[in-house]
């Protein structure tokens, strides 16, 4: 199995996008992203995290609710609702991480490419400032030269 890499881009001043190819047909990838019985097996982040709550009402206006439990027992909850559901091709949903974060609108597209599927996840922030803040968290590789230098410096600090 070849290891794919994810590519982060900034399509506009309020958007962030990540593109990733998966070696599976479009309908399977769509199901992996939308059915709780699949989601809890992979959308887990770092080793040791679990997802004790995963509720998905996959229809326009339907709510979703996910709770992650970190290895140390602390939890992280996200909620939102579906704005658009086009089976196997496209999802638009709101996402809220809580009061500290602005609500985002996330669009996920699934495109067949031979036997593989290209997934593009686009996060739209309410303002460029909100995206800036998210970008400062390292969601992108940071094309800005001064930022690269800063990252080099951060790396030099070591663990």
């Amino acid at each position: 199995m070849t290891t794919e890499t994810s590519a982060w881009t900034t399509p506009s001043d309020v958007e962030l996008a990540v593109t990733r190819t998966f070696d599976a047909p479009q309908h399977l990838v769509f199901e992996a992203f939308t059915r709780p019985e699949h989601i809890v097996h992979w959308m887990l982040g770092p080793e040791g995290w679990t997802m004790p709550v995963c509720e998905v009402d996959l229809r326009p206006g339907g709510q979703w609710h996910m709770v992650w439990r970190r290895a140390d027992g602390t939890e992280l909850a996200m909620t939102g609702s579906y704005l658009e559901v086009t089976p196997f091709a496209r999802l638009v949903q709101t996402e809220s991480w809580g009061d500290d974060w602005p609500e985002t609108v996330n669009t996920t597209t699934f495109t067949s490419s031979g036997t593989r599927t290209v997934v593009v996840q686009t996060t739209k922030f309410p303002t460029p400032e909100a995206r800036e803040r998210a970008m400062a968290t390292g969601m992108t590789s940071g094309a800005d030269t001064s930022y690269d230098r800063l990252e080099t410096y951060l790396a030099s600090l070591g663990a």
């Binding site: 992996a32 992979w42 959308m43 982040g45 080793e47 390292g138 001064s146 800063l150 951060l154 600090l157």
Partner: protein, 112 residues
């Protein structure tokens, strides 16, 4: 705006001039005059950026009344760095797990 340490650090980092100032200070201490040189910016304008960086604990000003050289304090950056790594790793780890999980899904769908 939230004034917890992480929010102050993010706000301070959300400006290209301030990031450039930090990158310069990573090479060593500098006076306001030295920091102003690469930018088409007045000393007072740079001082304003320095105040934001100071408030975030990223820059420390010397006591010398005349020169007050600026030095970088990387402690808040370390906290951001830990956060940063966590976020990107979340999706990279998840995607990798999905690669393996899709293999299982493919096998199961072949069985039926």
């Amino acid at each position: 705006m939230a004034d917890d340490p992480l929010s102050l650090t993010f706000a301070a980092l959300a400006d290209p001039t301030r990031r450039a100032i930090l990158a310069r200070l990573a090479e060593g201490a500098a006076t306001v005059k030295e920091l102003s040189a690469p930018f088409a910016m007045s000393g007072p304008a740079v001082s304003k950026h320095l105040k934001v960086l100071e408030r975030a604990g990223l820059v420390v000003r010397g006591r010398d009344a005349q020169w007050r050289p600026c030095t970088l304090d990387a402690t808040p950056l370390r906290e951001v760095s830990e956060w940063t790594d966590g976020f990107r790793r979340f999706w990279d780890d998840s995607y990798r797990r999905l690669d393996a999980y899709l293999e299982r899904m493919k096998e199961q769908s072949d069985d039926h």
